[in-house]
């Protein structure tokens, strides 16, 4: 046993103590009400290889005994439902393609009540073993400790990929963002560090380099990345970004671009090229199709009306008019030429704004986030996940996944059967990852919150999960290796004019 596993050992022992000798009450009142539990795992669908689902009663001052049961296999826990990994895996193996039946008994005033049972459906579709995300407090300007973490979905193990405090010292603070992988491959990742020791980190098969992507010919260093599924080519949005704060609106903050473009970065040549630079188009969020032959992205058209004020002031004044549509360009991997822009989804025609296009691995569905305006939907309470069937052109809100609060960032699992969605459904402020099954016809199931060893963990935790991404395994480069590279000089990129232009 490794030293770092000792805490898990103790957790397992505690779970055994909690679940080992408990029996369900024999005398109780039967209720036709479902129990109020946190997280809400009632009738969710989970992958067969997911970590144990733990939950607790969401009613103060009441006792709980809960039972997971599949056939003659059962696990009974008191106070908190925390089965051990072995118990859980026995249950999920037996329930594969079926369901775990869950009984919850609650006791108030010495009287036990048995609630209407519910199910946890176990899909035989497995899920990628790892996700990564940035942990960030829901603040706006200040940041201190930021980490990009990875979490094994098959258990509760979480580790740091990189922590900005390794390179931060007070005023010389460092912001990190936009972790991204080439087709779920943890050996090929990139992220940005801003300000102190800033640059773009690109790790390819164990080799790490730091790139300075700032160049006079482009708006800014690369921002939102999209790594080609097979080529050493990363497309970025570049932008001049600002934020401003609502005095009373519940959305609290608006982040907007005054200018934005798309650039292409050739990793091997260390060259960037502009992919159009129309000042009336605000392009953002590029995304490759799985075959690497189409580039999707969003863009909002913005013509100036008021010449007496700055562009930034005008954007602030007209922020609700920023409506992003989804476009695409064909791409020839052999010649590396892009085709002309084509409209994919006209959100502005519905007076809405569509962002974050993500194509399913089978290439059929395009998930995106839809809100009333703008592109920073994580702070828009109305934002929802939508699905566009690329075969039929039919778009719909995924009501089976959405909640009454914010849904924003989303990512497909590599087998296309699961999506992970950033949602603020539990409190409207702290983003949590929720996972939902999506079948071959694009129909989703009720999503479940990322399971944790202590079901109360996410309620205690004061940071948001930002940009959850599936990975086929863990990133093996250590945080200190990244820090060592970040402390060094960045390699400046060369600018190459777009082909066909002087």
């Amino acid at each position: 046993m490794k030293l770092k596993h000792i805490p898990y050992f103790f957790v397992a022992v505690l779970m055994l103590v909690a679940c080992g000798r408990v029996k369900v009450p024999t005398e109780y009142i039967q209720s036709d009400q479902l129990p109020s539990i946190y997280p809400d795992y009632i009738d969710v669908t989970v992958p067969v290889n997911i970590a144990p689902l733990t939950f607790m009663l969401d009613i103060p001052d009441a006792d709980m005994i809960a039972r997971y049961r599949v056939g003659d296999e059962e696990v009974v826990c008191k106070d908190k439902m925390q089965p051990t990994a072995d118990e859980w895996h026995q249950l999920t193996e037996k329930a594969k393609g079926g369901a775990i039946e869950v009984d919850v008994f609650t006791r108030t005033n010495e009287q036990w009540t048995r609630h209407k049972p519910f199910h946890i459906y176990v899909s035989p579709d497995s899920i990628d073993p790892y996700i990564s995300y940035r942990l960030i407090a829901p603040s706006f300007v200040a940041y201190e400790a930021l980490t990009i973490n990875q979490r094994c979905l098959e258990n509760y193990e979480e580790s740091v990929i990189y922590d900005n405090m390794l390179c931060s010292f007070e005023k010389d603070g460092q912001c990190i963002n936009c972790h991204h992988y080439q087709w779920y491959n943890p050996q090929r990742m990139q992220f940005h560090a801003r300000q102190y020791n800033g640059g773009t980190i690109i790790a390819i098969d164990g080799k790490v380099k730091k790139i300075n992507m700032k160049n006079d010919s482009i708006l800014s260093a690369g921002v939102y990345p999209a790594w080609h599924p097979t080529l050493d080519l990363i497309v970025y949005a570049t932008d001049k970004t600002y934020q401003s704060f609502h005095v009373t609106d519940p959305n609290k903050v608006e982040v907007f671009d005054e200018e934005s473009d798309i650039i292409v970065y050739d990793i091997n040549k260390n060259e960037v090229t502009n992919l159009g630079n129309d000042s009336t188009e605000f392009e953002v969020f590029p995304c490759w199709s799985p075959d690497g032959k189409t580039l999707y992205y969003c863009s909002a058209h913005f013509d100036r009306k008021y010449t007496t004020i700055s562009k930034q002031s005008e954007v602030i004044r007209r922020y609700t008019e920023l409506k992003y549509n989804i476009y695409k360009m064909t791409f020839d991997p052999a010649t590396r030429e892009f085709g002309p822009r084509e409209l994919v989804f006209d959100a502005s025609a519905q007076d809405k704004s569509a962002t974050l296009p993500r194509v399913s691995p089978d290439g059929r569905f395009l998930l995106f986030t839809m809100g009333e305006y703008g592109y920073f939907h994580i702070w828009h309470h109305d934002a929802d996940i939508w699905s566009l069937d690329l075969q039929t052109g039919e778009a719909r809100a995924m009501s089976e996944i959405n909640s009454s609060d914010t849904e924003s960032y989303h990512s497909w699992s590599s087998n296309g059967r699961w999506v992970i969605v950033s949602s603020r459904r539990y409190d409207g402020t702290f983003t949590r990852p929720f996972i939902a099954h999506v079948d071959a016809e694009g129909k989703g199931t009720k999503p479940f919150e990322l399971p944790t060893a202590d079901p109360d963990y996410h309620r205690q935790f004061m940071r948001s999960y930002n940009v959850p991404e599936f990975m086929s395994g863990p990133v093996t480069i250590t945080p200190h290796q990244f820090a060592d590279i970040l402390k060094g000089e960045a390699i400046p990129v060369k600018y190459a004019r777009p082909s066909g232009k002087e």
Partner: protein
């Protein structure tokens, strides 16, 4: 007879100096004086320290402290700091720690009883690390600082005591020295390293020359290597530059403020001297009573003088804390009583809190210029902005809850979560009707020992806007939550942002809000906004005497506009007369600098809007 008396004198002094009772009396009396001084002079500071603390009874909280070296000290420090909720209890615990420290120091270094007074040296230095904080109380990143240095020093002395008490066989001392570095560093940060180094020095006196060299070398290698190893293998949340200073407070903003480290340097020096002068046996006798007595007197004077000089006594700092304390208790009269005591030029924070209190009591229009006014920067080697001192609270009290919550969030991120930030976030969420996130913040506070009851009271308001509107604390704020929405970045200028938005709001009928908008137009010196709000004010208060400052503003703008109807306005003759006098005296002051004009006109007209309008513009926050 004479000879006999001379012989008796030293023995009596010696007896006193050597007796345990002497130690007990001198220590307890000294600590009692320190405790009473803190409780009397620093009661608001102690309140603030615990508000800026957070200790939660959860394993997650423990885990979060342990991700940096010395995490255990923060955990214990925050645990003990929470008891300052009852200041006497927190101070009692601190005094207990100091008593233990004195006893341990005496034991660890074989200090004879005659030098019991010297044991106050580390105590006074530790006291100074607390009472010299000043404005760092708002921004110091070391949570639990109030107890951390004391606990760390206790760790050092206890470790040295164990080290020198171990038998000199089986290399027990060497093992313990290494253990102190390897375990002590993760638990106590720099204090683990300090203990290791002191053991290396003490070994010179308790080991043979050869072995003491080995011990010293071992100590140096351990102190250099352990933090480096821990940094590479264990910790991800610390910069390499900080690894040797872990759990020392970071007095760094845009630059280092070394003066705040002086007590720490002296503390280290004190223990190094004790270690260097370590003896297995020391002479307990007072051989030269006069010299001993003089030495005690000099030491006592030095300790008292040092304490007095090092104690941060700035009036504005303490006034701000006292006012904040009153506001937390909705004691508006208390805020005004504090404002009335003001001697020095106040900071904008003091002026804003005074105005807030006057506004709550409906006295602002008549009295707000009758208190000391100004914009003195915060005292000290660095300037703290109003936003950092009272930003979230003042936005909350003025009903601009989005901005208030935003700053609490930003500060929570920058300085780690504190009870004060969480309370403010809970309050703002309740006022915004954001029940779910209100519950989250409230639950955070329910996991504390002393804020639990407050949290339960707030919990009872979730989902009950009617009860919130009727709640004595929330009610006036709900009247103010009528701002027009807009996108805005205040750039940290709280007062200007608030006043600008208040003055700009035109379609609000609520009398309290409307009067605040009128007052904001005075602050903004915005004549159009003034007339708009003043006209509405007059309609809303038809049969009431117009507050004096509104009369002054109306008359001033009337004169400036050469309004022909000015004489028919219901303005007191005294107001008119004072304006004429002001105008004449202002003309005589022509050519003076702004400061000169302020000085010249303040005695006679400092309590008028005329003075404020012409001489109190562009006040720095």
């Amino acid at each position: 007879m004479k000879q006999k008396k001379q012989k008796e004198e030293p023995s009596r002094i010696q007896g006193i100096a050597q007796s345990r009772l002497y130690n007990i009396i001198i220590w307890t009396v000294g600590l009692a004086i320190i405790a009473l001084a803190m409780l009397y002079y620093e009661k608001d500071f102690l309140w603030k320290v615990q508000e800026m603390n957070l200790f939660q009874h959860t394993s997650l909280f423990f885990k979060q402290q342990m991700v940096v070296p010395g995490g255990m000290l923060t955990y214990l420090g925050t645990f003990l700091t929470q008891f300052l909720y009852y200041p006497w209890l927190g101070i009692l615990l601190l005094s207990g720690c100091w008593l233990l420290l004195m006893w341990l120091t005496k034991r660890a270094f074989h200090i004879p009883g005659k030098w019991a007074l010297a044991m106050f040296v580390p105590v006074i230095l530790l006291l100074l690390t607390i009472v010299d904080m000043g404005y760092w109380v708002y921004i110091l990143k070391l949570r639990g600082h109030f107890f951390v240095a004391t606990l760390g020093t206790l760790f050092v002395t206890a470790s040295v005591w164990v080290f020198r008490s171990l038998p000199a066989k089986y290399h027990l001392r060497a093992l313990f020295l290494l253990l102190t570095a390897v375990i002590g560093y993760p638990l106590a940060g720099i204090y683990g390293l300090a203990a290791t180094l002191l053991m290396g020095i003490v070994s010179w006196h308790i080991e043979s020359k050869g072995w003491s060299a080995v011990y010293s070398l071992l100590a140096v290698i351990a102190v250099v290597a352990v933090p480096l190893l821990c940094y590479r293998q264990v910790y991800y949340e610390i910069n390499q530059a900080n690894i040797y200073w872990a759990k020392l407070p970071l007095y760094y903003l845009q630059q280092d403020y070394q003066q705040y480290y002086i007590p720490f340097y002296l503390l280290a020096l004190f223990y190094v001297i004790l270690a260097l002068t370590y003896r297995n046996e020391r002479n307990e006798e007072v051989t030269k009573p006069l010299r001993w007595f003089l030495a005690q007197a000099v030491l006592l004077v030095a300790l008292v003088f040092g304490t007095f000089k090092g104690w941060y006594k700035d009036e504005n700092f303490h006034r701000e804390l006292a006012m904040q304390h009153c506001i937390e208790q909705s004691d508006w009269g208390g805020v005004i009583a504090e404002a009335a005591k003001q001697q020095d030029e106040p900071t904008r924070a003091i002026v804003m809190m005074k105005n807030l209190a006057l506004g709550r009591l409906g006295r602002q229009g008549n009295e707000m210029y009758y208190f000391k006014n100004g914009a003195k920067p915060s005292d000290g080697p660095f300037t703290l902005r109003l936003m950092q001192v009272i930003g979230p609270m003042i936005y909350y009290q003025y009903g601009m809850t989005n901005f208030s919550a935003r700053y609490s969030n930003e500060m929570g991120v920058e300085y780690e979560w504190r009870a004060e930030y969480l309370k403010n976030l809970a309050r703002c969420a309740l006022l915004n009707g954001e029940w779910k996130v209100a519950r989250k913040y409230i639950n955070q506070l329910k996991r504390t020992t002393f804020h639990r009851n407050w949290a339960k009271r707030m919990e009872a308001l979730i989902g009950k806007p009617d009860q919130i509107a009727a709640n004595p604390e929330f009610a006036p704020i709900t009247h103010l939550m009528q701002y027009d929405n807009g996108l805005y970045n205040d750039q940290g200028n709280v007062e200007r942002c608030l006043m600008r938005h208040l003055a700009a709001c035109r379609e609000v009928d609520d009398p309290y809000f409307q009067e605040q908008a009128l007052l904001a137009s005075l602050y903004m010196k915005d004549e159009n906004a003034f007339w708009f709000h003043f006209t509405r004010y007059m309609k809303q208060h038809p049969d009431q005497t117009i507050p004096i400052h509104y009369q002054e503003a109306a008359y001033l703008y009337g004169v400036l506009d050469k309004n022909p109807n000015i004489d028919s306005w219901p303005i007191s003759p005294v107001v008119k007369e004072r304006y004429v006098q002001f105008d004449q005296m202002a003309a005589q002051s022509d050519g003076l600098t702004l400061d000169g004009a302020r000085k010249a006109l303040k005695p006679l007209f400092g309590n008028t809007y005329y003075y404020d309008h012409f001489l109190m513009s562009d006040l720095s926050e």
